[in-house]
Symmetry: D2
Subunit: 355 residues, 4 copies
């Protein structure tokens, strides 16, 4: 039950970084929807490693294959199974990690919890799993084509973008590092080169704006829109925090300063509520930011211990990103798509006619 | 399905602020556990309004009644149903709100979503629901008595506590406002009096430290410990953000600065990971902070619209807290208990013997 | 998770035979539906003990109380909590059972499984729980008012009704024993008097006809209409078998004998399929029969063992029905209502529009 | 949610008869269990078509491929994904069915429910899906190796086996037609040849004995052992009824005749309860029978209608079994394995220690 996402639109996933395939089953898609598989593949490609993103040299083609649930280009209402081959796994890269716990890495907790942990490439803890989410989200997005989701890198290391520095966030994927300020982006790239040369890694943040939401997404009490989004985002590898837009500033304010007065069209004059009232979308834009710690796999020498608890040193080789944040932008998009499509389906139930 | 919390330990709740009772059913508690109902009531009392907390004058006795699942003081393994009477509801306080949308309030979204919204006291959107969570959590805590959970108010308005200003957070409930710095707490109370006099409200933040966790709580992929905590906390009324300890600072750092090296006892020398690796507890303390916007119900005049979209003004009477944050400390505790007890149960499954 | 019934329309129940109350929470009812609470109470009353039904002298008033989810007579879309007081529990009746396993009774398996079993009145294994199902079903029925459900007693002991002996099954609740043949019913009552005099009990069967179903109820693969009905019915206390109409005869036939040819209005000329094709209703009537063993609690002396495994004898006193089947007719109705209403909601999802 | 089976051990499946692959994801298997993939393949082979079984000439190799969750021959605790290629699909066989509803076939209900139904080979309604269940069950069986499950064909058409005619049911798969009486089996085969020559089909029944069960499988109220078994079995294509052993006879009896007295070892002298008390296994053998109607696809001319409701005639070609019952024996086994393994996991939770 912990490998399944969503309530009516459910994505069940499988796969290890070094297994034959990773993939998933998406259930709950209504029948009769035309699937644009080119668009899905394009969204998948945005997550791929590239020098542009200072990411791992592991170069996967990542072609999505569909096994079921589509007939003559349309959804049939049946489970949509998909998978992607793991082509370039080099398990031998990991042989020296076999008996060692990497600092700040999941292999300690997985090994303690499951005993016979597959140490190669982190198994299910690998960020390769996020590929499944991008695919699932890209399919789900066909349920809610009007909703516009614009994620972008808003911070890398200590470089962050103020609101007036943002260029075209609606096309963030066209910017190097998906950081929507060309000039500052170049500074960041220079800095990332230094970090890479030092065999180190860097954290950052992704912000996301959602426009054109209908009123009514989000369920009361335990499946509020902000809860669903936070749970999804906090599940991304290395995520450490989730803030709705201006969360901290608002928490320092008075009610009279941050209440949003309604206009006669039911839009609000301000949007301190970040588009959500009582856990339900009010039709205004939603903004949020997710904070990521640096990837723990660094090439620098580190002290650590073996599985038996003996002190040792480690220098982690293998293929790792300098900064995972740019590649995670596609993941934020995919998860947002999954959350909103699921909530759209749930909201349909409140309009059910009787028989 | 949106009125249910947890996967193996499931709390299903019901009740409106102005209905006869609120309550819930907790399923999944193993049999044979001695329930300390005095302790449960004490935890419930910590959430009660009091002048000490600058909270609503609505004074509920909030006595928990149990309907099932307990025999001779022990759990039977069957559903534990509980409820609390709503004694002092004054629905007439809300009559003037009948046709008006309060700014930044759930009544707009509920009415749009469900059409025949019960406007009195916010229905299911009322913070009275959080009482159910405190009760559920207090029962659940009997599964994990060794784990220590210490929530406290770390910020009210612009007053926040630096780490070196914290006094005894293990007894935060003994401090006025549950703000563990006596001197600064008095300043805050003075400030809250001013805010109250101005018929305004104030936001804030709650931090929480969890000690003595076993290794292994948290499930891979979609039910990671940080996801479960974030979803829970973001569901509290007016919550706007969730950060694991030092989330923002860590996101601005290099891997080499924030990786946690292991000692030979498998503890780590530092705890930048905030007690979680790969979504699973590593045995180190967990820290997090939740940010809350001010309560939207203020006595000051505000511009708004009627259900028909006509401009009007409103001054909200009724019984409302100046700052909800102190009362929410008990709620943070209850939700943390529910999350950890559920993850404890889930983790048991990985040790299942075969038959 | 085993105290919850349904997928979108979910009934979570609690309560022991000898606790203070039994009750439940029904989630998933859409908002805006007028609830006829008199009709619900009437359906509850049909399950009550009466001499007419040769049932337990325990005489409960069984007044349903609602705690939430209803406003101005309509559903609000929020959880509907209800409960019923257990008024006439006489726990002392059970004192002599404290250390003894009754033959063919759940107290052996419950005690082995949960250790500290509440022996009084069978706890959760008591048929009193079925009252919750009747209430839940009676509420759920408001979603599908057009569907007609006609359960009736079709067999008591060796007395069974051939098709040509059936009188008005649409008013079975008006017949003594809910056995729709007045003359034969009198024979059965005479026989039941004898059985009662002998301190014995009797099994039987309930049949049910469902008319006016829409096409499309039932979900593929693991939630087929016949699976959902069978699971529900087999959960009734003492149920031993479930057959769709003519199941055995059909299993002895050739395809050419029992295929149902379509007419031009998509009705079928025959109905050997009992209204279900591929797990989905085809618009024709559904018929099924549930078989019940006799209640195990008999007054006759029986050999058995103590909890320590020592041989002993027992004569079970307390208040027990001679034949539980007539009272179970209301339960079959309630469960059928719950199943069909849930499947109606699920079927709505296949018509979801995109946004 | 209707493509998922089980509560803790969950099998999610996908695939159409004429898609590229069918397969599934099994979650909840504890880590560290040695998987015997040869045994799994052997169980899959038992379901394969063969002349011996008078089954469809479609000859699939049905080699199970695993994609995840296994490392060095052991389960890792992560999802186990598997699939099987659909090699010999001949969609052109179905071209003449494109606009016609086959009598007693799922294509009417699927088309009405989902509109754009994939008519080829019945899509998800195809019995090819049952292959997924056999695989899932064969994996699940590794959790409960001590439990012995013996399904066999107990009836084909009007030929049925009395208890004293049963030969070695523990090796039913070694008998032609899995009908454990060699002499009578030959009569049946002669009869099946006649039926086949007449382009007709035949129904039947499968019985199953489960030995060596632990006490305690089955959850109260809504997930009783008999409910779980009945739901599973009724989901098999063409299943029409489910009876626990002697269900009908017991329903015609008195309590004093069918109560099972306990021995001092807590076994019972008789087993009228068919191994289940209060929905929970009592350690005695469980017996049940499932009744199947004949396959609806017959070669004989039948009257039917087009999608537009115009009368027409049809003679169904393609590759279909004369009698599906023998092949379904492996399916009954797989589903029983899934049910019992899931209930075994659930029962573990009642022994959970506190932390």
């Amino acid at each position: 039950m912990s490998h399944q996402f969503g309530r009516l639109l459910q994505l069940t996933t499988y796969g290890e970084s070094h297994g034959a395939r990773i993939g998933g089953i998406l259930t709950g898609m209504p029948p009769g929807i035309n699937l644009d598989t080119n668009l899905i593949q394009e969204k998948v490609n945005r997550r791929k490693a590239s020098q542009n993103l200072f990411s791992t040299p592991r170069n996967e083609s990542d072609i999505v294959v569909y096994h079921s649930g589509i007939y003559q280009g349309k959804t049939t209402g049946m489970p949509i199974a998909f998978s992607v081959e793991n082509k370039t796994k080099k398990s031998e890269d990991y042989d020296n990690l076999k008996d060692i716990y990497r600092p700040s890495h999941a292999d300690f907790t997985y090994h303690q919890k499951y005993k016979n942990y597959d140490y190669r490439g982190s198994g299910r803890a690998s960020a390769r799993e996020t590929l499944n989410w991008v695919i699932g989200g890209a399919i789900a997005a066909h349920l809610i084509p009007k909703i516009q989701i614009f994620p972008y890198v808003s911070q890398i290391g200590h470089f962050s973008l103020l609101e007036n520095e943002l260029e075209d966030i609606t096309n963030a994927f066209d910017y190097p590092l998906h950081f929507p300020n060309l000039r500052k982006g170049e500074e960041v790239m220079t800095y990332l080169s230094e970090i890479q040369a030092q065999k180190d890694t860097l954290g950052g943040a992704i912000s996301c704006i959602i426009n054109n939401l209908p009123v009514g997404l989000g369920e009361p009490v335990f499946y509020k829109l902000q809860s669903a989004l936070a749970a999804a985002m906090m599940g991304i590898n290395t995520a450490k925090g989730f803030l709705l837009e201006n969360a901290i500033q608002t928490s320092q304010s008075r009610g009279s300063q941050v209440n949003d007065e309604f206009d006669e069209d039911f839009k609000t004059k301000t949007n301190h509520s970040a588009g959500i009232l009582g856990g339900i979308s009010n039709g205004m834009p939603i903004g949020f930011t997710v904070y990521f710690k640096p990837i723990s796999s660094i090439g620098k020498p580190q002290n650590t211990v073996t599985h038996e608890g003996l002190s040792t040193q480690i220098e982690i080789g293998g293929r790792h990103d300098v900064c995972a944040v740019p590649r995670a932008v596609a993941v934020v998009q995919g998860l947002t798509e999954l959350v909103l499509a699921d909530l759209w389906l749930l909201d349909r139930l409140h309009n059910t006619k009787i028989y």
